[in-house]
Structure formats: structure tokens, C-alpha cells
Symmetry: C2
């Protein structure tokens, strides 16, 4: 089994390098938070919170959500997003620091990690707009609708436009983890939020419209469909065995051993036995914790080293086929829902790619998008074999 040694010299704990958190507002009222992790504090915000001098008026858009009567799932409608920024030239990146007179979304000349409200959100706080919203589409009880409340935040992992999460130092990765934990705790306290989902879409093949290394945080006002199914499965498993489903899966993967990619002191990475993507790996803490906020220092420290290392393996996945990477991926951090059934779920990463071979993608067509049946042109054991040899 491949084990990435945790180099303790690089292990940054919160005590060693306190992250300084500075909260401010953008010109249109959106919240922005700096997470500064080194001296001199990069954002400069300690002495002077830089002012966003742009002329931006507060967004008056009201994303809506409607219940799909055929599936019982909420679908979010945000037509204003059709106008969102689309693959800007490098010099016009809205996620780079504001430099040389060019104002971006971040009103600082440098930063370490920064989190702010998305300018084109799919979910947003309830607005005091004129006119009530009907609770039913066309007055029909088959079609409930309501404002899509919640939050959509962006997380910039670094001010370096050409970097990636895989290229972050453990120290910087620890700052991102700190930001995820801080935002998860804050958003979990927001009235009506049922799940906080931290994720990164990487690559134009995943629809990424801004190349600057960044992720997103969605605070949903409902429990998303995948989580609903996981909760139902976990409840049935607890009823029949008295045990925790994800703990039993982790124990079974460690027993079977052949799909384990990395076994650390506090975390294990494995390819799930029924992986549905051509590249897929899950990463779970050994201790049952609901979310990032509940991780202890040792767990955050180990994660700060092993997660970028895992991403580097994914980037190199097709190198033997002449594809130097980077590989497009979705990294989804599933956290326990807020409220009922919180004890049935736990923090875990589902990391997957739509690349199935050098130059070829897996598409979600009739079988997957039409009826929800995933077809995988490889096997979980082959995926694990490849990830294991990429140490």
C-alpha cells in the first residue's frame, strides 16, 4: 500500500501560524472575508480595510426554486446567471488581486485566501423586494415554488492565477481548510440552511468559467438529493445492524485493502467498490465528524498535506497515455446536514473526473441523465491500481 509520509516539519497547526480573519464588504454590500496566514499580512487589511471603490449596485435578482413533481427534487432557477463572467482574458481575471488600477472582486493588492459572496448567486438571502412570491406555480398544488434562499460563496485558494490546489503548500492548504471550517460553522448558523457543501470544479471540461484557483461553498435551504438518499441508506443500515454506514464502509475497504489508495494516521483514501466515474476516490477521516468545523488540529494538519498530494495523483492519472494533465475534476466535500438526521452522516470527500482516457471524456447522456443509471468503462480496482502506483 502506498503511504504518503506526513512530514511533521511541514505540519502547520493553528497555534504555530494563527490565521488572521478580517471581514469587510464589497461596494454592493456583499460580504468578503480575508484569511491571512503570513507576515506581513498579505491583504494589508489589519491596518486598513481596503475600500472597494467600484460602482456596483446591489443585485436585485431573486433566484427561485420549484419542486419537480416527477422526482420530488427542488430545481433552482437563476436566469441572471446567463450573464455571468465567462472565461475572461488573464489580465481581466476578477479573482486576482486589484493591481495597477484594475479593480477586481478583491480590493487588496495581495491576499492569501479570501472568501466572498458570489456576484451571480444561485442562492441568496431573502430579499425585501416588492411583490410577494406565490407559493405555487400557476396556483397549482402540484408545483410548489419559493425563493431560493441560502448562500453561494467563492473561495480563492491563492492569489497566484496560474497555481492550483494541488500546487498549494501544506501551510496554504491548511488556511483553506481553516476557511472551510470557519464558513461551515457560520453558514450552519444561518436560519433555514440545511446543508453546507464545499466543492471545487476544476477545468473547462467541468464548465469552469474562471481559471483562477478557486472553489465554491453552497449553503442549501434543503437537504440535496444525494444526501437524502445517503441518509435513507444510513438509517436502514442503522436499523438493521445498529452501526454507522460510512464507518462500516471504511472498515470494509481497509479489510479488502485492494482499493485503498492511502492510509494515513487520521485519514484514508479509497476508491469506492461501486465507483461510478472513470476516476473516483473518496477521502474520509477515521474519526466520525460531521463537518470541517469539527476536525481537530491533527486531522486538519494531515489533510493539509495529503489532500494536495491526492490531487497531484489525479493530475498525473493519464500521464502514461501522454496526457500531462491537469485533469478536470469535481471535489465535493459532503458534510452532515443541519437539523434532523445529522448523526446519520459524516464528513467525506468524493473526488471524481469525467476524463476516461487521454483526450476522451465520459458524458452523462441517455442512461445517466435520462434514467440515472451510471455506466463505467473501467473498474474500481483499475482506478485504485493506477492511483496507488502514482505515489
Amino acid at each position: 500500500m502506498s503511504v504518503i509520509p506526513v512530514r511533521h516539519a511541514e505540519c502547520v497547526t493553528e497555534q504555530q501560524t494563527p490565521v488572521r480573519i478580517t471581514r469587510t464588504r464589497l461596494a454592493d454590500g456583499r460580504a468578503l472575508t480575508y484569511y491571512d496566514d503570513r507576515e506581513p499580512y498579505a491583504s494589508g487589511a489589519a491596518t486598513r480595510v481596503l475600500h472597494d471603490a467600484r460602482e456596483l449596485s446591489p443585485g436585485q435578482v431573486r433566484p427561485m426554486m420549484r419542486l419537480d413533481v416527477l422526482t420530488g427534487e427542488w430545481v433552482i432557477f437563476a436566469p441572471h446567471r446567463m450573464q455571468r463572467t465567462y472565461l475572461p482574458a488573464t489580465g481581466r481575471c476578477p479573482l486576482c488581486p486589484s493591481r495597477d488600477g484594475a479593480a477586481t472582486e478583491i480590493p487588496a493588492e495581495d491576499y492569501d485566501v479570501v472568501v466572498f459572496d458570489n456576484r451571480f448567486p444561485s442562492l441568496r438571502p431573502q430579499l425585501d423586494l416588492t411583490g410577494p412570491v406565490s407559493a405555487l406555480v400557476d396556483g397549482d398544488p402540484l408545483w410548489p415554488q419559493q425563493p431560493a434562499t441560502g448562500r453561494c460563496e467563492l473561495v480563492c485558494f491563492t492569489s497566484e492565477h496560474g497555481c492550483s490546489f494541488a500546487g498549494l503548500t501544506p501551510s496554504r492548504a491548511a488556511t483553506v481548510i481553516k476557511a472551510w471550517a470557519d464558513r461551515t460553522a457560520a453558514l450552519s448558523r444561518v436560519d433555514g440552511v440545511r446543508q453546507v457543501f464545499c466543492f471545487e470544479n476544476r477545468g473547462v471540461e467541468m464548465g469552469v468559467t474562471l481559471h483562477h484557483p478557486h472553489g465554491q461553498i453552497y449553503a442549501f435551504p434543503f437537504v440535496p438529493p444525494r444526501t437524502e438518499r445517503l441518509l435513507a441508506r444510513a438509517a436502514a443500515h442503522r436499523d438493521s445492524t445498529g452501526c454507522d454506514l460510512l464507518s462500516d464502509v471504511l472498515a470494509a475497504e481497509l479489510r479488502a485493502e485492494r482499493r485503498v489508495v492511502h492510509r494515513g494516521a487520521a485519514w484514508t483514501a479509497y476508491v469506492p467498490a461501486a465507483a461510478r466515474w472513470p476516476v473516483e476516490v473518496h477521502l474520509v477521516p477515521h474519526r466520525v465528524v460531521p463537518d470541517f468545523a469539527a476536525l481537530n488540529s491533527a486531522e486538519r494538519c494531515e489533510l493539509a498535506t495529503l489532500y494536495p498530494a491526492l490531487l497531484r495523483r489525479v493530475d498525473a492519472f493519464f500521464a502514461d497515455q501522454g496526457d500531462p494533465g491537469p485533469v478536470p475534476y469535481v471535489a465535493g466535500w459532503h458534510q452532515a446536514p443541519i437539523g434532523p438526521d445529522r448523526d446519520l452522516a459524516r464528513l467525506h470527500l468524493q473526488l471524481f473526473s469525467v476524463r476516461r482516457a487521454a483526450g476522451k471524456l465520459k458524458y452523462l447522456a441517455g442512461s445517466e441523465s435520462g434514467v440515472g443509471v451510471w455506466l463505467n468503462d473501467t473498474t474500481p480496482e483499475r482506478i485504485a491500481h493506477r492511483l496507488r502506483e502514482l505515489r
Copy 2:
């Protein structure tokens, strides 16, 4: 409301033009069925079933399926499909007729409509291969697995490589509908088949690897996840109201009227009130029928005219943005499952595109693929408005 007049002169019934069905086998034993709809019968198979002279050995691959313990959904593994034919040059199209000494999948110099077993199937009949298959991955009860039994068939809509379903004459479209009905009836009788799904993926943006106009038929050995959810919703609706869910949805759309794209004598097309794709339209017969096989002549006749017309509207969707089409799409024909709960479902088409604007696609990234929450950058009413004006 836009109504496509059904021109009765074009209305081809089975009495008027009997479709001649000829069944044969390819060199490796796969079944192939010709549906000839005109004199002289194009495939020539009436007098002489043409022999597939290629040297093909029967496939010994055994696709497997494993239960995803986190969702309770079967995932299909078919690693042999990694070698499938990928975007061949036009002269090498395996779905064109065999001409000028070049043997293709269809051993005839011409054909009208032909259906045959996929050479690279994700589902196939149980094979008498050496060695039993363990019912559990690594012997663990968390991970059931079994051979992925069932059928994967290809349906060639026409021998014309450069055509599309939208370009078919009503007569030819009626032959495809006849083939769908014939294969649905036959596959529904196959032991273990729980749902027959006729669909078309169109466009490289949907992962289509062969451009020749064709669709697919999957006979699943389980009820697919989307159908499972639909059945659960329909059962709950029947329990609470005593009524049929899809009938009530159709009635509600007709009452609301603003999302109805076409109201015919036997079929209505509407954009669902919670459409999850940037272009989406459903097409349902007014009479409650479980599948294609149960459609009567009048219903098939009307469908043969209006379905290609609906596809032409989808193709023209972004023409006002300078995108001349064709538009990539998935056309999924949902049919009632075989066995329990068959009476809770009914035939309906879900037609959708991932194109969200000229030159831009909707991607399934963190929100959709990670947690199952669909975001739509338009509204159902805007989609319907556009489809209605494209008469």
C-alpha cells in the same frame, strides 16, 4: 398556442404501408432485424438474407453491476467499452450499409430501419462463461454484485449518414416507431428485464461517438433510479388523491397553458413547470398507455409527424443567437416498468439539451453531479416561449 396541423395525406398507418420485418444474425451471433417500409424492400432481405461475411468471434466480455452502498443504485461496469469505435471517418461508418466491398455492421446494400445488438454492450444475456461470479465484492455483504444482464441494441433511423431524426419523413418516422414498439414488446418478454428504455443521444457534446443517425434501446434488469423516484411519487399521489400523477400533470399544464408547446389530437408537448435543463420539453400521449407497443394507429400516426417537427424546433432553438444548429440533445422515452408498479407509470418523452446559449453548454459539475441539485440559468416559461415561436 402553436399547433402543428397534422396533414392527413402524410399520415401513414400500418395498413397503408405494411412494414416487413426480417430477422437475421451477424457473424458473431448478434441479432439484427430489418424493418423495411417501401418497395422494393431496401434491405433485399425478403428473397435472400444477406450473410455477414466478416470474421467476428462472439464477445466473451461479461459486464458487471455493483450496488452503490451509499445510494442503493446499481452501477454498471463495462471496461471492454473503452475500446469501442470512436468517431470514425465518414467512409468507415459502421452504421452505413455495406457497400463497395466495405463490410459494416449492416450486411445489406441499403436498408430503411434496422435494429441490432450493440457490439460493445453495457448489458448482455447471461453468458455460460467459465467460473461463477461471486455475489459479493470481496465477500462483503455491503457490496452486492452480479452480471449486468439485459440488452443493448442500436436503432439506425435511416441509411442516409448525413440525415437526422428531425429530417425523417413521417413515413420513415412511423417505421422507427414501429421498430420501438416491436422491440419494446419483445424485450419486455425477456426474463429478468424490468424496463425498456428507447433513447437517442445526439451530438458530440453528448458523447456521441458515431454520427450516423441512430438511437439505442437498453433493457435494464432493474428499475432505474429516475423511474424508482417517479414510481414513489406516483404512488404517494395516488394514495393521497386517488388519481394518476402524470395525467394530473398533463391536465394542469393544459389548464396553465403558458408552457404548452403543441396540443395535438392525441399528444401534447409542454415544458415541465420545473424543467431542469436549459432546453427541455416533454411529450405525452393523452391516453394512458404504458409503452410504445400499446399505442394505437392514430397515436403512432400523429407522433410520426409531430416528433420530427418538435426536434426541428429544438434544432432551431439558438438560431436567433447565430447558432444554426443542430443542437445536441438527449431524447429519452420513459416507459412503464415490467412487473410491480407498472400501472403507476406511462409512456412519455423527456427531451433535453445541454446547450444553454450559442456556443455555451450547461455542465453537470459540483451541484448536479456532486449532490444532485440542478441549477437552471433560464426559466420553463422562457423555454416554452421560444419553442412556441418556432412553429
